[in-house]
């Protein structure tokens, strides 16, 4: 009986999560979008995770971030997919699979990814995943490639109080 109640609750929550997702399509990421994201989280630690639908190394890190977010609801994670606006339904579905349905989502909306990368970080040459760690003062630490789980935990421990 309790099992059924849990199942029903899960279905209900799942449905709600779906409704929330459906309402919030990933926003188009253009030049200036990162500044907008940073302003929104001014004074707060933040992880901006750049990824893409076809990136096979990305799910490892995103799943870890999803698990960390469950454990630490105060953890600010913003997802930016280096795909195209046409890929928005897929980025949304994948983010949900990684437990990041509620994280704000953006998707690259410029035919020239270099233009966005120059705005984000001139020294980023497109490797994915790419993770931006901002502490409360928004000092940036950028990492290319999958960030090991231990390092993500360390960052959360150091920055979330």
């Amino acid at each position: 009986m309790r099992g059924i109640a849990r199942l029903l609750a899960a279905l209900l929550l799942g449905g709600l999560a779906w409704a929330v997702q459906a309402a919030e399509d990933p926003r188009p990421f253009v030049v200036g979008s990162l500044k907008e994201i940073q302003a929104q989280y001014a004074g707060k630690p933040l992880i901006v995770a750049f990824w893409s639908v076809g990136c096979t190394h990305c799910p490892t890190e995103l799943k870890t971030l999803g698990a960390l977010k469950r454990r630490h609801p105060g953890l600010n994670v913003v997802l930016v997919a280096a795909d195209t606006p046409d890929d928005a339904p897929q980025t949304r579905r994948l983010a949900a699979q990684y437990g990041l349905a509620k994280a704000p989502q953006w998707v690259f909306a410029d035919p020239i990814p270099e233009r966005l990368r120059m705005d984000i970080d001139r020294r980023w040459y497109g490797e994915l995943p790419r993770t931006h760690f901002y502490d409360a003062e928004h000092r940036l630490e950028a990492v290319s490639g999958v960030v090991p789980e231990a390092r993500l935990r360390q960052w959360v421990a150091a920055n979330l109080r």
Binding site: T56, H57, P113, R123, Y125, E127, L128, V146
Partner: protein, 405 residues
């Protein structure tokens, strides 16, 4: 004019082409995952954004580009100012990868036209290396064949192909069979592997598939060149100990030892989708160009090598202008290096020249600019002059470095 279609490029698009395993949602039917749907869209793309151009012995230029699953052959007799369509390479449309690090390839000599490409299979990040050959100057092609003799539905792709004027022809590609075999035994295999086949008669007959290297990066194009002795040499991003993805090189012949071609120390748990390029000059000196994101010294580099002796790595390109995707040309004394930068508004092709086999170099200069999305620049295969082929939103451009400013 060959028009190119650019889908917004996504760097990590085919990162798993050779993984041969679904990293996410593996319990679902492959076609049901968002990743697989993305793959399906890519393999049904209406037009490719990556083209190739080769010169024949008369200096005429031949291009291949993908439209609706068919490769179209075109020819220019005016140095690349205009191209006239000749016809289709593959009569039956198929899913052909023609973007980023995966492009159709062409080699031409006399009446022989050889075209190779990566055919995408329905399963996520899987494919076959394909080839079709014409003996009548491209008017008709024999039905395409599959080059990889392992026919599992796993990754075989990112092929490179080069031919010399004596009929030596080489194809090298990234192949997931070793990884697949390890997985069947319940083991793990890091990265992919490089396989190759060669021909000595302009592609009429071929050697059996042979393995060149184990444990390579999964989705960076392979650099390939044929030396004055007719032996091909490959350069690829390798998986060294500790997850370091630097470059390695070796000759395409049995028993040739693997040599480390760069000591960047780029430890990255991802595939950067950024292969290098290789040219061999008339005296057999090998000229390498590549990109590294190593924290110690990121950016573009050039070095030459004679036998086992490697020269010092020379940094080039503007790190703050997204300098990337270098390509190299070499003949008797001249070496030319071209790469792409972005100035915030438009892409530009930059070049540097050496007239003493890579000992000293000119200052860099801009030789072309383009608005909108562009393909990666590559030197025209088999050209006696340093001609760069560059796909732009306004069409395919051929830049002759000897005429450029």
């Amino acid at each position: 004019m060959v028009k190119l279609h650019f889908r917004l490029p996504s760097l990590a698009l085919a990162c798993g082409l050779l993984l041969g395993a679904l990293p996410a949602g593996a319990h679902e039917h492959p076609a049901a995952t968002p990743m697989a749907r993305h793959w399906q869209e890519r393999l049904t793309a209406a037009k490719g954004s990556a083209v190739s151009v080769a010169a024949d012995e008369q200096g005429r230029l031949w291009s291949v580009d993908m439209r609706q699953g068919q490769l179209w052959l075109s020819r220019s007799t005016d140095g690349g100012k205009t191209f006239a369509e000749i016809g289709k390479v593959n009569a039956q449309p198929e899913a052909i990868l023609a973007d980023g690090q995966s492009r159709p390839l062409i080699a031409v000599h006399g009446q022989a036209v050889v075209v190779s490409w990566s055919q995408a299979l329905p399963k996520l990040h899987t494919g076959h290396v394909r080839m079709a050959r014409s003996e009548d100057g491209g008017l008709s092609f024999a039905p395409p064949v599959i080059v990889n003799d392992n026919r599992e539905e796993i990754g075989h792709g990112f092929n490179a192909m080069k031919m010399d004027r004596r009929g030596n022809l080489a194809v090298a590609w990234l192949d997931g069979r070793e990884r697949s075999a390890a997985a069947r035994k319940g083991g793990k295999y890091a990265g992919s592997s490089v396989y190759y086949a060669t021909s000595g008669d302009f592609g009429k007959t071929w050697t059996a598939n042979a393995k060149l290297a184990d444990n390579t990066c999964e989705c960076c194009r392979i650099g390939l060149a044929i030396g004055p002795d007719g032996t091909a040499v490959a350069q690829w991003r390798h998986l060294f100990a500790g997850g370091v993805r630097d470059f390695a090189t070796t000759a395409l012949k049995p028993g040739a030892p693997l040599q480390r071609a760069s000591e960047d120390g780029w430890e990255i748990s991802a595939c950067p989708h950024h292969g290098g390029d290789l040219a061999i000059d008339a005296d057999g000196r090998r000229h390498y160009v590549w990109f590294t994101g190593s924290a110690r010294k990121p950016g573009l580099f050039y070095r030459y090598a004679d036998g086992t002796q490697f020269g010092t790595a020379l940094a080039f390109g503007d790190l703050d202008a997204q300098a990337g995707h270098p390509t190299v040309f070499a003949d008797e004394k001249q070496v030319a290096v071209v790469w792409r930068e972005f100035d915030g508004q438009r892409y530009r092709l930059r070049r540097m020249l050496s007239s003493d086999r890579g000992e000293t170099w000119s200052a860099p200069a801009t030789v072309a600019e383009a608005e909108g999305a562009t393909d990666l620049p590559l030197f025209v295969h088999g050209a006696a002059r340093p001609l760069v082929a560059w796909g732009t939103a306004a069409g395919l451009r051929i830049v002759d470095l000897r005429e450029a400013p």
